[in-house]
Symmetry: C2
């Protein structure tokens, strides 16, 4: 089979630049989170997700929706956070199957410690090098791309049981 459509140089450049920028940025961010708060990227994302909720609580399933991890991976991370006293876990009142994860005050405090550095890294590495027009363009274009990717079927969170009869 021939290759579907030869990728154009500018298309390749767009893809590679996106990939490289994201990788370099992620690397710097993870180092900052580790150095300033002993957190990994996934752990920080979980804490930040919880803080975005007025109640500071989310079910495991709701948390998983925003992340790219398997369920067991999320359980593992939640256990780490609980062990560090940054969240608590308890069965949901309305559905005993569900686990509600709640941000503790210590978790909130740690976010307060880590956020300034986090913002600083993102600003100095990414935002400060962009014009306002650049930022508008990136936010608009990639925002649309993200929405389309999320709407697409191949979601990784769908570790659902496949019903293919043998």
């Amino acid at each position: 089979m021939s290759e579907p459509r030869p990728i154009l140089p500018e298309q390749l450049e767009a893809y590679l630049a996106l990939k490289d920028v994201a990788a370099l940025l992620e690397h710097a961010v993870e180092k900052q989170l580790r150095d300033d708060g002993g957190l990994t990227g996934p752990q920080f994302q979980i804490l930040a997700s919880l803080r975005d909720m007025p109640s500071g609580k989310l079910r495991m399933t709701d948390l998983a929706d925003g992340l790219v991890y398997s369920r067991s991976g999320l359980t593992y991370q939640a256990a780490q956070l609980e062990r560090a006293g940054l969240v608590t876990r308890a069965p949901a009142e309305d559905d005993e199957r569900s686990t509600v994860v709640t941000l503790t005050q210590a978790g909130r405090d740690l976010l307060g410690v880590v956020m300034p550095g986090h913002i600083q890294v993102v600003q100095s590495l990414l935002l400060e090098t962009l014009t306002d027009a650049d930022i508008t363009a990136i936010a608009g274009i990639l925002g649309r791309v993200r929405d389309q990717m999320r709407a697409a079927p191949p979601r990784s969170a769908t570790t659902r049981r496949s019903k293919r009869p043998a």
Copy 2:
């Protein structure tokens, strides 16, 4: 200890969109590489880097320049690839300290097997959702950002703090 500069909503959106798109794309790409060729992302990158050289060879140090890994990590990956028969390793002729990694025919063949699917994933998830103008914008803006990030002082720009158990 106020946050240096409050991040604007559009700035945050640009950052988060970039992060999410890259993560979703990477996830899809890695799955394709694994399914079609039994390769991890880093391994594919090494093979692709070698194929981009007319000679099909690169020194370990040259390879490391394009990747974000530590030396030991690169050694590990190179060993995996060698074990799979996709590359060979030999000391450089002009400098006995250096190791030259060479793409084998099997490695080249595997790239041939994997590339069509790889391109297809990138096109369907990213490129096909973008206009030509979008692609030009992304390539230009992020290309510049990447160059600046690479030129920037490595990783010591971030603040240093004591570690916390997590």
